[in-house]
Subunit: 223 residues, 2 copies
């Protein structure tokens, strides 16, 4: 990733540019802390927005899907313009005025052309990245991947060259609520939100919990 | 909402139709339990996918934004085709094979034309719905909304007429992993994920926590 996040005309923030974060490490940290994105593309029937997993390898995000899906059929005809967005909701911001409420969040938007990955070795690397993106360290615990595994899915690549990050943190602000009357007796502040894991539910023969579950518990605390 | 979720050609599930949920109450429950969606539309620069809040009133979803935003400028020229997606990640599904892993999830996709709301009373109702969608009961605690509040934002409406729901629940399946060797010693099962609230962080003068925070705690348990 470059030392600063370059903004292209379409990734430059038009609204609330003060919420842009141009630190590539912050952008990478958001991507690396998550595994679900929303992917938008223009289908023949209109815009489509689907939640899907991704995996990052250096400057490329990889996506996978069924070879028979509509998006994969489109990409087989050539690169498809997409917008990939990863969003983290960090909290709800309460203000005295309804329209002064806000959300604390971090979001990354990547624009570019999704291309079909055809090199079998790159497909295998991409599937490995996807597996470890969801649960770091999981790949090493799985049955080794076979050529049949790689043939069963289609893999897309999307460059991080055009990416932007936007965020809001902190309590209610005068900017959000310029005429906020401090004497209106409504509770103000922030309710933080985060994702936690429940107790793992084993399937199949009893086995000790593997190291990847401990790493997952570090990311998503258990009760 | 109709008694069954009608599927249009573009909301009918092509991939994994067994994951469709045609129960309108289930679809409504997903929408009502969340407040953030991802909205996709086709801009001049390509597809755009933005996280944003929504509020549901009967068969309409309302969205708000800055009047000067690119989407609002487009909608002022006429209805804009959009895809609105609400996704809930319920857990990570572990299987012996990397490609047998999956996610438990519920997602709702709404396709249609976003239209600009111009009636001041409907704008006020929409902003009220948005406020209470994020935190049920919050509106009644806020300073009453003024005409200036309504003038400061642009509001979009999107009908729920074309909506579909997809979900996956449960442990690793033979369908996902047809050649899953039961003797491969990898832990299998599900790690549930959910959203929780942290301790509220008050801003401004000390005030007792209002009823809306208790309701929020019912949705997002505190530690």
């Amino acid at each position: 990733m470059p030392s600063s996040v370059p903004s292209s005309p379409r990734t430059r923030l038009v609204r609330r540019p003060e919420r842009a974060n141009h630190d590539p490490a912050a952008l990478r940290a958001v991507l690396d802390s998550q595994f679900v994105c929303h992917l938008a593309w223009q289908s023949e029937a209109g815009p489509v927005c689907v939640p899907t997993c991704y995996g990052r390898l250096d400057e490329t995000l990889y996506l996978h899907g069924a070879p028979a899906s509509r998006l994969m059929a489109a990409v087989r005809q050539g690169p498809v313009p997409v917008c990939l967005t990863v969003s983290v909701i960090d909290g709800i911001v309460f203000a005295p005025r309804a329209c002064g409420h806000s959300l604390n969040f971090r979001s990354v938007m990547v624009m570019g052309n999704a291309t079909l990955v055809t090199d079998p070795e790159e497909i295998t690397r991409a599937l490995a990245a996807l597996t470890d993106q969801v649960t770091p360290g999981r790949l090493a615990e799985c049955r080794p991947m076979t050529p049949a595994d790689a043939r069963g899915v289609a893999v897309l690549a999307l460059s991080l060259a055009e990416a932007s990050m936007k965020q809001r943190q902190g309590g209610p602000s005068q900017t959000d609520d310029p005429d906020q009357p401090t004497d209106f007796p409504a509770w103000s502040g922030v309710v933080p939100l985060s994702v936690v894991a429940g107790t793992p539910e084993p399937a199949g023969p009893p086995r000790p919990e593997p190291p990847s579950l401990a790493r997952l518990a570090a990311r998503y605390p258990r009760p």
